[in-house]
């Protein structure tokens, strides 16, 4: 069984990211991943699962999620209904225990990758409620007086968008990695992986426009890697010539299909205003 992660053919991992993943896998600690939206946090777990050949269990957190839901839920309403109908199932409480994602991960025959996605969306107490389970990799089902023990310590990847500060006690138990926005060289490799046939010059021009756009001050949502990939896909589908990207007077032309890069109405306005001002200055 492989235990070293070095990126995959569809995912470029930087040196520090590889170190973070390998440390987390080998020392059996959860890995907390933060970073700008669109830098591939969620994808990381999928790629780890793929690279190390493990099953992936996906637990998506919403603002209403409770830690208990990850362990198990007791479906009292179903039992109540069955009791009214006189169903025989009602005598065994185990019939009404619904397994959660964490239980699934503990039960897996092969060491799984468990992705706890966007943990910051949940209530502030959510990470604290999982401390013991993540530490000891076991929990107790009170209804059936049963202790659930992990067969293998799952590889846990937790993502956060920084919308909430996570409690210290929780952070202590995790390894932490911040996915930095890729620099030009890394970005070229990333695009290369996704669009192997892309012409070198088109790519260079597109990247130039892209990184220029990220420098525009005051943007509410800076375009990220996923936006760039979408944009290049569009450019290729529309067969936009390279010349369209490379205008003689830079900063005065709106790049084609910019809607794929800027997702916010105000940003588009701001951008168009800037272009307009640049044109006026240039005259």
């Amino acid at each position: 069984m492989k235990t070293r992660f070095a990126g995959t053919d569809t995912y470029i991992a930087t040196e520090d990211l590889m170190m973070a993943v390998n440390a987390a896998v080998n020392l059996a600690r959860p890995l907390l991943v933060k970073g700008e939206p669109g830098t591939g946090k969620t994808q990381l777990a999928e790629e780890i699962a793929k690279a190390l050949d493990r099953p992936l269990i996906y637990w998506h957190i919403k603002s209403t999620s409770k830690a208990q839901q990850g362990l198990y839920e007791y479906d009292a309403v179903a039992r109540l209904r069955d009791s009214q109908l006189g169903d025989a199932r009602v005598h065994d409480i185990a019939n009404y225990i619904v397994k959660g994602k964490l239980w699934d991960a503990f039960d897996s025959e092969l060491q799984p990758v468990l992705l706890i996605d966007e943990i910051d969306k949940a209530d502030i107490e959510f990470p604290n409620d999982l401390l013991l389970e993540l530490d000891r990799m076991e929990f107790f089902v009170y209804e059936t007086q049963q202790r659930v023990l992990a067969k293998h310590r799952p590889i846990i990847v937790i993502t956060s968008n920084n919308e909430k500060e996570l409690p210290d006690a929780f952070l202590r138990r995790c390894f932490f990695h911040y996915i930095r926005f890729p620099d030009k060289a890394t970005m070229e490799r990333i695009v290369d992986v996704h669009f192997p046939g892309l012409k070198k010059r088109l790519l260079r021009d597109a990247l130039e426009v892209f990184f220029d756009l990220r420098e525009v001050p005051g943007l509410k949502k800076k375009p990220s890697t996923s936006e760039l990939l979408d944009w290049i896909k569009l450019l290729m589908a529309e067969d936009i010539p390279r010349e369209a990207l490379r205008s003689d007077a830079p900063r005065t032309a709106i790049p084609p299909l910019h809607g794929a890069l800027l997702k916010n109405e105000q940003d588009v306005h701001l951008f168009e205003r800037l272009i307009f001002m640049n044109r006026r200055d240039a005259r």
Binding site: E15, D16, M19, A20, N22, A23, A24, N26, L27, R29, L32, K34, A76, V77, L80, S83, Q84, N162, E163, K164, D168, L171, R172, R173, C174, F175, F176, H177, Y178, R180
Partner: protein, 321 residues
Amino acid sequence: MLVEFCQKLRNARIPVSVTEYLAMLEGLQHHIAGCSAEEFYYLCRVTLVKDEKYFDRFDKVFSAHFEGLDEWFEQLFGDIPEEWLAKQAELLLSDEEQRKIKTLGGWEALMKTLRDRLQQQADRHQGGSKWIGTAGTSPYGAYGFNPEGVRIGQDRSRNRRAVKVWDRREYRNLDDNVSLGTRNLKLALRPLRRFARQGALEELDLDDTIRATARNAGLLDIKMVPERHNAVKVLLFLDVGGSMDIHVRTCAELFSAARSEFKHLEYFYFHNFLYDFVWKDNRRRSIEQITLMEINNNNGRDNKLILVGDASIIPYEITIR
């Protein structure tokens, strides 16, 4: 050495605890960081630091504490084994060429010169001059083996990057620079809310229903509770104009956050100070005025008051009039 490092991190107010220190040692024990300074740096960062806002401080402490770490690693792992060099040369050089080397003072002398050169290069490389480039005039160039080629196995990363990773300070922007976005403001406003159950029966109270049903010997007894909603009433007073102009964006964010967070929110604008009147529409502030008396009478004691202002007057407003 490492305990001291942790102590320094703590002095820089990076919260490092024993747990994290032990985790790092465990990582070293498992040989996760192999034999380069960079790997060691990444391992330290991934285990010891838990927030990107500390990355910059960590970089600084690391750089100060482990000054010369690269050289140290080089001493440990970077000694070029002589046999290896010899082998490399044998691979690359023909017999005739090797004979030529002998005329230059023999293998021993050549190796010595080569090592001196490498040493020199390592020192001078930091100054930024390209010693390798001028190597064409050296005897090594003539025999077609490139000293750089020999070196590459040892520290490629150093040649490629003049500046070490931790000295690049890429995370400067993230240090305590978390701006107040709408979302953060919402979170900050949240503790102000008071939930209360008021109004009609709406929600099924599952816990109570189960309890009541059980008490009822299994016959279904449904219990309802009123839905919880935020019962706090808020009056928001915003200072506008003059010295507040620079805070417009923050105020707008606060306003939109407060709007979505409170059910009963009334907002008013004022300028510099709450005089006897306020207004709701900035464009018609001279026409539609609301006196403070009116606000006082219309809103009961259960209202909460939030005043937003910067407690200053821009000088020209005083001097010009």
